[in-house]
């Protein structure tokens, strides 16, 4: 019976939720034009339109423009049916054709990419398969392959997003998981008390977050995403905040004020042994690891205003990293370890997301929205998502690290905040 109940909980957490509706508000100046021919399918109605998902994915990157099906002059099913002049006439630089077949309960999607300008096939027919429930996964897989082939950058269309939805009257917080395009939202947790700071473990199997559910005080939890099973990692007096996984997934950096003041600590996830990293009467908060795990970046107001500092975990040597602006907080390190992304404010301006080149110290403002917070970087380092406000609601937004592409979620019921971009899944 107990086992039955646990399975029920997993099911209940899978009920349908309103999905995010992320929209590209600004793409690159000259997007690559690609025609994704509707995938052929001999059966009845398919629950998903794979060609359309691939087109939407590529447009979501801000680097592509997908040519609408109703403008297409032909619908080739194989290389012999491809007439390059048809696609040149539409200005298309690439052409993707595909077909779906079914054997028992499995679907097989085969696809081929053509370079219209050079009039040649880019890659021979590839096939991806899955069940009906995995049709979207199959489409995202194709998007990744096409994106990487054309841009040379690994695609993020198969990655996931965790975010927090907050409602008032009655107060309610939900930890949500969805595809990176916002589709297939699934609830991981619901509580009446504040919920914040979700972060993915490096292997993509667990999420750490802060929940106020016990005595309306913050504690750090680690939850297994597939099973919903979770552990309360901390329950110290005062602040228990901002968990951050080490790159090897064995440690959690965090901020605790159990000794009277917010300080940075590192916890061994297995043994729960704590190591104190900072010791200063100012606020030391929001730790995040360098790409190699040798140091921790964190926010501190020890200089009078919040700024980012770096501490070497072995030598405990500390130095200030940000100097541009009177407010720099909530740092995140790009996957290549070269850039620091954070919340930045200059005197007289609003809060924006900025990127700083760690070596040179040069800082660039990336976002044009106001009251921005909580940046999270895509595992390919090309884009970052963050939370902002629009129409009086908390919404998610995204911007490419070169600031050329911008994405904004239209406001929906409740506030959406605290995005966490997953790592690549193996």
């Amino acid at each position: 019976m107990k086992r039955y109940l646990l399975l029920c909980l997993i099911f209940v957490a899978g009920v349908a939720h309103a999905q995010l509706n992320l929209k590209v508000t600004k793409g690159v100046d000259n997007p690559t034009k690609i025609a994704v021919v509707p995938f052929t399918w001999a059966g009845g109605r398919l629950p998903e339109d794979l060609g359309k998902i691939v087109g939407n994915d590529l447009e979501f990157s801000g680097q592509f423009e997908a040519i609408a099906a109703d403008r297409m002059l032909s619908f080739p099913r194989s290389e012999t049916e491809v007439h390059y002049r048809d696609w040149k006439a539409l200005g298309s630089e690439y052409l993707l054709i595909g077909s779906i077949t079914q054997q028992a309960d499995r679907y097989y999607a085969s696809y081929e990419l053509f370079d219209v300008v050079q009039q040649k096939r880019v890659f021979a027919k590839l096939t991806v398969d899955g069940t009906e429930a995995q049709l979207r996964d199959m489409a995202h897989h194709i998007s990744d392959k096409v994106y990487e082939t054309i841009t040379g950058i690994r695609g993020i269309f198969s990655t996931k997003l965790i975010y927090v939805e907050a409602f008032t009257r009655p107060q309610k917080y939900r930890l949500m998981l969805s595809d990176i395009d916002g589709f297939r939202p699934r609830m991981l947790l619901e509580t009446r008390f504040p919920l914040l700071s979700p972060v993915w473990s490096p292997n993509g199997q667990r999420v750490a977050y802060v929940s106020f559910e016990v005595d309306n005080k913050p504690s750090i939890y680690v939850q297994d995403i597939a099973t919903g099973r979770r552990q309360q990692m901390t329950n110290f007096r005062g602040l228990n905040g901002a968990p951050a996984w080490s790159p090897d997934g064995q440690k959690l950096a965090m901020a605790l004020s159990k000794d009277g003041n917010p300080e940075i600590y590192v916890m061994n996830v297995l043994t729960r042994q704590l190591t104190r990293i900072t010791n200063h009467f100012a606020i030391d908060h929001e730790p995040t690891w360098s790409a190699d795990g040798a140091s921790i970046f964190f926010t501190s107001d020890r200089g009078g205003k919040p700024q980012i500092y770096e501490v070497n975990v072995a030598s405990m040597q500390q130095e200030r990293v940000t100097f541009d602006g009177d407010y720099n907080a909530r740092p995140r390190v790009s996957p290549d370890g070269k850039s620091l992304v954070m919340l930045n404010k200059r005197p007289g301006t609003s809060y924006h997301i900025a990127a700083q080149d760690i070596k040179s110290g040069n800082l660039r403002i990336l976002s044009e929205t106001n009251l921005d917070e909580s940046p999270t970087i895509a595992p390919n380092g090309a884009m970052l998502m963050y939370a902002t406000r629009s129409g009086g609601k908390g919404v998610l937004a995204a911007v490419s690290l070169d600031a050329r592409v911008k994405i904004l979620q239209p406001p929906k019921q409740g506030d959406v905040r605290e995005p966490a971009w997953s790592p690549f899944f193996k």
Binding site: L7, Q134, L196, K217, L239, I283, A329, R330
Partner: protein
């Protein structure tokens, strides 16, 4: 070709479809509770008769003269009394969410330290911060922000 992640997703999907019938009796989503950390009742929202809120300047956690006057009245009431008081620190919505939790705690600590210097027993004072999570005013303007940068003294 199929990735391992797809296969895992399939397993979960099969489990879910198998369980279609099992949630009919309870449509309200429930938290997984496997560690015994049961959710407790909401904190009481009753306001104290004496002015129970002190306010702070932006990104500051030092007490204003006005706040000190209010807190002196509380100190007189609390001195020698064995009543438990909860000091709830808050911040406005601007800036980083986690950092604002620290700011709220620093504000509540400043109130606690002041009360202790006035002779109040520190062990009767409990500090908790909600950062920007529980605003008193929901607008995104200076008037709302000023109301939200506060410590609530709750008896």
């Amino acid at each position: 070709m199929i990735t391992k992640a797809l296969k895992q997703g399939l397993t979960l999907a099969v489990v879910m479809s198998f369980l279609v019938g099992c949630s009919n009796s309870d449509t309200k989503p429930v938290e997984p509770t496997t560690t015994g950390t049961a959710t407790t009742a909401a904190p009481t929202e009753t306001a104290a008769p004496l002015s129970s809120v002190v306010y702070f300047d932006f990104d500051q956690y030092s007490l204003t003269a006005e706040s000190r006057a209010v807190l002196l009245a509380h100190a007189d009431k609390l001195k020698g009394a064995s009543v438990a008081v909860r000091l709830e620190g808050h911040a406005d919505e601007r800036g980083s969410r986690e950092y604002n939790l620290a700011l709220g705690e620093k504000r509540a600590n400043a109130v606690r330290d002041f009360l202790v210097t006035q002779g109040v027993n520190g062990s009767s004072l409990e500090v908790v911060s909600f950062g920007e999570e529980q605003p008193a005013a929901t607008g995104s303007d200076e008037a709302s922000w000023a109301q939200n940068r506060r410590v609530e003294v709750k008896y």
